[in-house]
C-alpha cells in the first residue's frame, strides 16, 4: 500500500511538477464563479489580478475597452486548430509546442542547457549554418532574422543566458505575447456592444499592473520560417507601454549621463516592441527571439513591459548597462 501511495505521489509530482517547471513566473489563481467574462463587462476597473488563472486552468486577462469599461478575456495559451496563412486556417496553432527532438531540456524546463546548445548542429533537420545563411539580412527576408555578424546559435545562446539571469523561462516570455495575440485575434467577435450596438475599441491590456498598448496591422503575403516547421508570419505587431514614475526616476539616476538621443533610444528599446507573430512561436519552441533586427522581441523589454521584472531587476540582469546590452550584437557561438 505504501508503495502505491509513493508511486502515485511520484507520478503526480513528476507530471505536475514538470509541467509547472516550464513557467517560473506564476499566475495568481482566482475564483471565476461570479466574474463577468467577455462579452460581459465592468464599468470601472475591477479589483482583479491580470493575468489570472481560473480553477479549471483557463488564463484570463483584463482588457480596458472604451474609456472606463473593462472585460475579462479568456486568452489561454494552448495548442489549438492549425494556424496556417497558406491554407487560410486561423486557429491558435501549436502555442505550447517546444522542439523536444533538438532541445529536450528546453522542452522539459523552458530553458536551454548550454551543453545541448554546444552540440546543436541541426535544428528541425536543417543545419544551423543553413538557418544562419537564410536568416541573415537579404536571405529569406530583406530585414533578416539576425544581423550579419550573428548566427542562429549565438543568438539562441545569448538570449538563453539573459532569460536565465532574469529568473524567467522562454515560455514565461512567450505567454504574455500569446495572450495579447489570442485576445487580438478573438476581439473582433466581441467588439460590438450588444446593448447599444456601438463599436468597442481595445484600449489596453492590463498586465501585472501595467497598461500595455497593442497595435496589429496585417501585410500582404506571409514570411516563411527559417526552420523546417509550419510557422508563418504576416502581421506587424507593436507593443508598448508608458514608463511609470519609479522607472523614470531609475533611468534618470542611472542613465541620465547618456547623450539625449541615446537616452531616448534606450527608453524606446525598453518600452517598445515591433515584431511579428512568428516570433511568439519561435520563443516557445526554440528559445529564439531573433537577433538584432527590427523584429526582435528583446526578453528584457518583454519582461519589463509585461511587468514580470522591474527596471532595477533588468538593469542588474544585464550586468548594469542596459544601453550596451541593447546595442551589442550576439557574436559568440556555443562550441
Amino acid at each position: 500500500m505504501k508503495n502505491v501511495i509513493l508511486f502515485i505521489f511520484l507520478f503526480v509530482f513528476f507530471f505536475y511538477g514538470c509541467k509547472q517547471d516550464r513557467y517560473r513566473f506564476k499566475i495568481e489563481t482566482i475564483d471565476t464563479e461570479n466574474l463577468k467574462l467577455a462579452p460581459g463587462y465592468y464599468t470601472g476597473k475591477p479589483d482583479l489580478p491580470s493575468p489570472a488563472l481560473s480553477r479549471d486552468g483557463r488564463e484570463l486577462v483584463l482588457l480596458n475597452i472604451d474609456n472606463d469599461r473593462y472585460t475579462l478575456f479568456d486568452a489561454t495559451v494552448e495548442n489549438g486548430e492549425p494556424f496556417d496563412y497558406k491554407r487560410r486556417l486561423y486557429g491558435k496553432g501549436n502555442q505550447l509546442l517546444a522542439d523536444e527532438e533538438d532541445f529536450p531540456t528546453l522542452a522539459r524546463t523552458g530553458l536551454h542547457s548550454e551543453r545541448e546548445l554546444k552540440n546543436t548542429k541541426i535544428i528541425t533537420g536543417r543545419s544551423v549554418s543553413q538557418i544562419t545563411i537564410d536568416g541573415r539580412p537579404w536571405g529569406s527576408s530583406g530585414v533578416g532574422f539576425m544581423s550579419d555578424d550573428e548566427t542562429i546559435m549565438s543568438v539562441i545562446m545569448a538570449d538563453n543566458r539573459i532569460v536565465e539571469s532574469l529568473g524567467l523561462t522562454h515560455p514565461d516570455l512567450a505567454r504574455p505575447l500569446f495572450h495579447l495575440w489570442n485576445i487580438s485575434r478573438e476581439f473582433d467577435n466581441y467588439s460590438i456592444d450588444t446593448i447599444t450596438g456601438d463599436r468597442i475599441q481595445m484600449e489596453a491590456i492590463l498586465y501585472n499592473g501595467n497598461e500595455v498598448k497593442v497595435e496589429i496591422s496585417g501585410s500582404r503575403g506571409w514570411q516563411e520560417s527559417i526552420f523546417n516547421d509550419e510557422i508563418l508570419g504576416s502581421g506587424h505587431i507593436y507593443i508598448s507601454r508608458e514608463l511609470n514614475k519609479e522607472e523614470r526616476e531609475f533611468l534618470n539616476q542611472n542613465y541620465g549621463n547618456l547623450p539625449e538621443n541615446k537616452y531616448e533610444e534606450l527608453k524606446k528599446m525598453l518600452f517598445n516592441i515591433h515584431t511579428g507573430e512568428l516570433v511568439f512561436f519561435y520563443i516557445n519552441r526554440y528559445g529564439f527571439y531573433e537577433g538584432h533586427t527590427e523584429y526582435r522581441i528583446d526578453p528584457v523589454a518583454a519582461a519589463l513591459i509585461f511587468g514580470m521584472r522591474s527596471i532595477e531587476d533588468v538593469h542588474i540582469a544585464v550586468g548594469g548597462d542596459l544601453y550596451e546590452y541593447f546595442t551589442s550584437p550576439f557574436t559568440e557561438n556555443p562550441e
Binding site: 548542429k121 549554418s129 529569406s140 562550441e335
Partner: protein
C-alpha cells in the same frame, strides 16, 4: 436463281437495318449542325461578356478555356477590338494564352510587334506564344529584346527566343543574368544551363558567388544534384584566398550532399576552417557518409590543438556511429 424463304428473310432484315441507320444519319446531321450552332452562340455570348467583364471575368474565361480551340476566333476578335478597355482586352488575351492554340500565334505576334499597342497587352501575349516555333520571327524578337528596358518584358522575350533561335536565347539570358537580380537572374540561370547543360557547373559556380540569395540558393541546390559536375572547378574556388565564408559554406554544403571522391577530403579540410559557418556545415556534411569512410580521419582530429576542431570531430564520431 432460287431464293429460299430463309434467305429472303435475312435480306429483308439487312435492308431494314440499313434503312434504320440511314434515317438515323439523316437525323444526326441537322442535330450536329444545331449543336455546333448552339456552341457558337454560347462562345459568342461568353466572349461578349468578356468585353465588359470586371472581377468576375473568370466566370466567362474558364468555360471558354474548357471549350478550347473553337473559342479562339471569337476571343481574337475581342482582343483586337481597340475600342474596348485595356483590361478587357488583357483578360481575353489571358484566356487565349490558357487555351494555347496555334490559331492564336499570328494575332499574338501582330500585337507583340505593334509598337502602338498597349505595352501591358504586348507583354501578356508572350505567354500565349511560348512553346511555338517562332524561327521565322527570330530577328524581330531579338530586335525587340534589345529595344526593351523593362526586365519582366525582356525575360518574356528571351523565353520566346528559346523556340526561335537558341543561340540568340543564350545571348539574351546571358545579358539578363548579368544585368538583373532576384527572379529574373534566377530564371536566366535556369535557361542558360538548359540551353548548354555542359556549361552548367561553370554557370552554377558563378551563381553561388552571386550576392543575390535566390540565385545562389538555386545554383547551390542545382550543384548538389546536377549530372554535370566538375569537382576541381569548385575546389579551386574554395581554395582561392579571396573566397568569402558564405561561398565556402556553399561549396562545403554541395560536397556534403554529393558522393564524390573529393567530398570527404574537402569536408575534412573544411572542418578545420576557422569560419563557424564552414566548419559547422562540414561536420553536418560528414555525417552523411558511411562511418568507415570518415571515422579514421575524425579520430586523427580528436586531439587537435584547436578547440572547435576537437569538438566537431567528436561530434561527427558520436553522430555517425
Amino acid at each position: 436463281m432460287n431464293i429460299s424463304p430463309h434467305h429472303s428473310l435475312k435480306i429483308r432484315n439487312k435492308m431494314k437495318t440499313l434503312c434504320k441507320y440511314f434515317i438515323l444519319f439523316l437525323l444526326v446531321i441537322p442535330f450536329k449542325q444545331a449543336s455546333s450552332q448552339d456552341q457558337k452562340e454560347y462562345i459568342d455570348s461568353l466572349a461578349n461578356m468578356l468585353r465588359t467583364a470586371g472581377r468576375e471575368w473568370n466566370d466567362y474565361s474558364i468555360p471558354l478555356i474548357e471549350i478550347g480551340e473553337p473559342a479562339v476566333p471569337a476571343l481574337v476578335e475581342v482582343v483586337k477590338d481597340r475600342s474596348l478597355e485595356q483590361w478587357n482586352r488583357r483578360i481575353s488575351a489571358m484566356t487565349l494564352n490558357s487555351i494555347h492554340s496555334s490559331l492564336w500565334v499570328q494575332p499574338a505576334l501582330e500585337i507583340l510587334f505593334d509598337l502602338t499597342e498597349d505595352p501591358v497587352l504586348r507583354n501578356h501575349v508572350t505567354a500565349g506564344l511560348r512553346g511555338f516555333n517562332l524561327a521565322e520571327v527570330r530577328d524581330k524578337l531579338w530586335d525587340l529584346f534589345n529595344e526593351e528596358s523593362n526586365e519582366s518584358y525582356k525575360s518574356n522575350l528571351a523565353a520566346l527566343l528559346m523556340t526561335a533561335d537558341t543561340s540568340l536565347a543564350y545571348k539574351a539570358f546571358k545579358e539578363l543574368y548579368n544585368t538583373y537580380d532576384g527572379h529574373v537572374q534566377r530564371g536566366a540561370l535556369m535557361n542558360l544551363v538548359m540551353i548548354r547543360p555542359g556549361e552548367s557547373t561553370s554557370w552554377f559556380l558563378k551563381g553561388i558567388q552571386m550576392d543575390d540569395w535566390m540565385t545562389s540558393n538555386l545554383a547551390m541546390d542545382s550543384l548538389m544534384t546536377s549530372d554535370y559536375f566538375d569537382a576541381d572547378d569548385l575546389i579551386s574556388v574554395y581554395n582561392e584566398h579571396s573566397t568569402g565564408d558564405e561561398v565556402k559554406w556553399r561549396i562545403v554544403c554541395i560536397f556534403g550532399h554529393r558522393d564524390e571522391p573529393e567530398s570527404i577530403p574537402l569536408l575534412v579540410e573544411a572542418l578545420q576552417d576557422e569560419s563557424w559557418l564552414v566548419h559547422t556545415e562540414a561536420a553536418v556534411g560528414l555525417c552523411r557518409f558511411e562511418p568507415e569512410q570518415v571515422i579514421t580521419e575524425m579520430k586523427k582530429l580528436k586531439n587537435d590543438s584547436r578547440n572547435y576542431v576537437r569538438n566537431n570531430s567528436r561530434w561527427v564520431i558520436k553522430h555517425i556511429e
